[in-house]
Symmetry: C2
Subunit: 129 residues, 2 copies
DNA sequence: ATTCATCGACTACATCTGTAAACGAACGCG
DNA sequence: CGCGTTCGTTTACAGATGTAGTCGATGAAT
């Protein structure tokens, strides 16, 4: 399929991702609590968060557990799965599936700090063996 | 702004990207020629290509040069700029701007071939010195 | 019990995307 | 000199997305 992002192949939009991110940092959270985490940053109203959460629940990537009159929400997918999927999508789409050119691009556009380079070196050493 | 993708901050959608890609491979091309490059792959009709091209022209990322009754189109932005921008967006959004975790993820999801590793190692050696 | 704050559900609506058909102008062939 | 073919332009339309308002139920506080 086109969208290998959620179990059902639904995509998580950028705005929805902000909500997921809050839930990945701490969960379960109520809609209001999520808003406390993201509304300032994104300049959103609580209503917006509610909508996004509903959509995420509809997409089956967020779980709603009843807690009295309200719901507490938790992610149903791992952050690492999402992030891994998105990364691969990008590499596939823009670099024909090869990671090396991506690395080259980041290097070229000065997007790699010395720290990054050091970490990469360690990572490569780790992987090679 | 939010979208550092085009001069005017317009985004290039995924479908539009397929058209850009054709133009980056060879240009200028007429709409029909673009279609020859992408319509089989994406299972599109010529009409779809025409729409996408118009939108890209409207977004100022494709240039239309008259050639008799028709137009020949060329990219107005470099592929490397687009690709670099998108890469950085992803790294910023998902990895807080650090590149190393991205590669750690790719490694984990088996997206790194031995070739990739070798190339990246060579690149790293190049960068560090 | 009455009021007030809060919650989720439903509704709204503009824009962007994907995908294309309709249409009228113009070119090329016969 | 018509006629079909080929262009670009305009219009279409459903689904996704961003952003939020309304509303009825319910819970808390007095």
């Amino acid at each position: 399929m086109k969208n290998p992002v959620t179990p059902e192949g639904e995509r998580i939009s950028e705005a929805e991702y902000a909500v997921m991110d809050a839930l990945w940092q701490a969960s379960p959270l109520s809609a209001t609590e999520i808003c406390a985490h993201v509304c300032q940053d994104r300049d959103w109203s609580l209503a917006t968060v509610k909508t996004l959460v509903s959509r995420l629940v509809a997409k089956n990537v967020v779980d709603a557990e009843a807690d009295g009159r309200r719901y507490l929400y938790s992610p149903r997918i791992q952050r690492s799965d999402y992030v891994g999927g998105e990364s691969r999508r990008l590499v596939d789409r823009l670099f024909g599936g090869k990671a090396a050119p991506l690395f080259a691009h980041l290097a070229e556009s000065e997007a790699l700090s010395d720290d990054d380079l050091a970490e990469m070196e360690a990572l490569l050493k780790e992987l090679r063996k």
